[in-house]
């Protein structure tokens, strides 16, 4: 039997993997993918909360599901803008490595 706890553990794992990816990986594209993973971790637990916390009438909490749609939409917009910036960076520097993007230091 799959319970709410299982979903939350998977979502927690997804969030941790995403956060670790942001901290440890050195390619900006992969960092960006990890960021999307973190958003999807939130989506998964929101849907799980919505499904397992039924109201008195036995209906799921639709607030959470609508919120998931907002997150998906915002994530899509973020990818569109973000990839455009990363492509511009690649054109200017011929690299997407974080070590090569560190000219601003004091």
């Amino acid at each position: 039997m799959v319970t709410l706890g299982h979903y939350l553990i998977v979502s927690g794992l997804l969030f941790t993997i995403g956060f670790a990816g942001v901290l440890l990986r050195r390619n900006i594209i992969i960092i960006f993918m990890s960021l999307e993973l973190m958003l999807n971790a939130a989506n998964l637990s929101l849907v799980a909360f919505s499904r397992f916390r039924l109201s008195a009438a036995g209906m799921p909490n639709y607030n959470a599901q609508v919120f998931v749609f907002f997150i998906i939409t915002v994530a899509a917009a973020e990818v569109a803008v973000g990839l455009a910036i990363i492509v511009a960076l690649y054109r200017a520097r011929q690299t997407t490595h974080v070590e090569d993007v560190s000219s601003l230091k004091f």
């Binding site: 919120f67 915002v74 973020e78 973000g82 910036i85 511009a88 000219s103 004091f106």
Partner: protein, 493 residues
């Protein structure tokens, strides 16, 4: 004649779309017309904000008014966002030649239309954020602001430093979004609500598990810490502020920070009953004050100096938040708006001729006395010299902290103010005591001169007679009984 509060955002949105349409269909006009159109339009909306119909005071359980409020705090910060955007647009007109150099389009003014249109959409996001009382609304409006800042920060994309700043801002903002969303998820999971008032009501129930909700709140706090540039989430600030186009830096440091603080004031409300929260915030405020002021000391680039100064000011504002004084925070933000935008306005004009380093300001008093005076007033106010708005802002903050028995914060705050005097007066010394490399005066357009004069007048006026803003804030505190969000923040002690 009265209008409903949400009309303001719709009007600003229409202005933004209108400017974009002109940009798309009339290629041959002077693109600066677009900026003037936007300024006039936003000015009209600002005037309209004084003729608002009173909004429903009870928080509705469903529908539009369950995630949108038009309480005096929201109206105050809507005006704040509009004024900021207007001033930033004036700066952008000054900055236009540099944008033009950086973008190689088909016509000689390519890219300028979008440069003037994007801040209007940011303004819509800021205004919605001021009214948001539901986590979904907070998330969406925060993202509208962040997304338009992604584009604005990396706008002059032929400049490698700008692009680098853009990528850093992109990664760290997206990271903070991840934290925000995951935090909201946990708060929702515990309480089953996204509306702030109902989250507070659910948390007041002792049967509820507070642990996971507190975990969620800490994640939300991390995300807001990124927005307001609090230590230890400040690492993006110096690089992004230095690399971004200067008017965008100014917008980022005032608009984005103010919105972060409004959301912070509203979001913290349900959680302040927990003593852990207050200790955590005190810790963050102390770290921010010390780091921001100490790291600013050795800076030689003025933009980077202002970045560290903006971290330091986030520390003073956090003292106000910990002391639960929404009034002091709001007044400080108004003072911060005037003095920060004034220093950036001077910086843009001077940097066009010489550069952004402090030694480029050498002898400015002989070359352009007016610009030097404007910078002097801005720096004196940022440092907190008496008879400036910055002094009274700090005074109200420390006063609130003493009344709230936060002696550690007051002591560290006063010591760091002394620290601030050193690095702000470094700029003044360069302007008045050093010799200039050249004797040419800095060209200054009539519009910018007028705006700067208005900001100088504002700083001095509020420093001597703060009553007008305080009265507007009284309206913030003396609110209808139904409002549960902002009132206890101000009258808690």
């Amino acid at each position: 004649m009265t209008i409903g509060a949400p009309t303001l955002e719709v009007e600003v949105l229409v202005i933004g779309l209108f400017v974009l349409m002109i940009e798309a269909f009339f290629e041959r006009i002077d693109k600066r017309t677009l900026a003037f159109t936007a300024i006039i339009g936003l000015g009209a909306v600002l005037a309209a904000s004084f003729f608002l119909a009173p909004a429903p005071t009870e928080v509705a359980s469903t529908g539009f008014w369950s995630f949108y409020t038009a309480d005096p705090l929201a109206i105050f910060f809507k005006r704040f966002a509009l004024v900021t955007t207007i001033l930033v647009l004036v700066m952008m007109i000054d900055y236009a030649p540099i944008v033009r150099e950086s973008i190689h389009g088909t016509t000689h003014q390519s890219g300028l239309g979008e440069f003037f249109a994007l801040p209007i959409f940011t303004c819509v996001g800021l205004m919605w954020m001021a009214s948001a009382i539901d986590f979904v609304m907070i998330f969406v409006s925060l993202e509208l602001v962040t997304m338009s800042f992604y584009v604005l920060v990396s706008f002059t994309r032929r400049n490698p430093a700008t692009l680098e700043a853009g990528v850093k801002y992109l990664i760290l903002s997206a990271l903070s979004t991840g934290f925000l969303v995951y935090g909201i998820t946990w708060i929702f999971g515990v309480t089953g609500e996204t509306n702030l008032a109902r989250v507070a009501a659910a948390l007041a129930n002792p049967a509820i598990e507070a642990g996971p909700a507190l975990f969620g709140m800490v994640l939300v706090l991390v995300a807001l810490g990124f927005k307001i540039a609090a230590v230890p989430f400040q690492m993006w600030v110096p690089d992004v502020y230095q690399g971004a186009p200067t008017p965008v830096t100014a917008f980022l440091s005032v608009g984005s920070k103010a919105a972060g603080f409004v959301v912070l004031l509203r979001v913290l409300q349900p959680f302040f009953m927990l003593p852990q929260m207050e200790r955590l915030l005190t810790m963050i405020a102390l770290l921010t004050l010390i780091y921001g002021n100490l790291a600013a000391l050795p800076q030689s680039n003025l933009k980077r100096l202002l970045a560290y100064s903006s971290i330091a000011h986030a520390g003073y504002l956090l003292i106000g938040v910990v002391s639960l004084s929404g009034e002091a925070v709001s007044f400080y933000l108004v003072a911060y708006l005037l003095m920060t935008l004034l220093s950036f306005a001077v910086l843009i004009v001077v940097a066009k001729q010489t550069g952004e380093n402090i030694e480029d300001f050498n002898g400015l008093a002989k070359r352009s006395p007016f610009l030097a005076l404007a910078m002097l007033i801005a720096m004196a106010s940022l440092a907190g010299v008496p008879f400036t708005a910055g002094f009274l802002g700090k005074f109200f903050i420390f006063d609130a902290a003493i009344r709230h028995h936060q002696s550690a914060l007051v002591v560290v705050g006063v010591i760091t103010v002394a620290c601030g005097f050193y690095y702000y007066l470094k700029v003044v010394r360069a302007m008045y005591w050093e010799d200039a490399a050249s004797n040419s005066t800095v060209p200054l357009s009539g519009l910018s001169r007028m705006t700067m004069a208005a900001m100088i007048a504002g700083i001095i006026f509020l420093g001597v007679y703060p009553q007008p803003v305080l009265n507007a804030l009284k309206a913030v505190t003396r609110k209808p009984s139904g409002d549960r969000i902002a009132e206890p923040l101000i009258n808690r002690d």
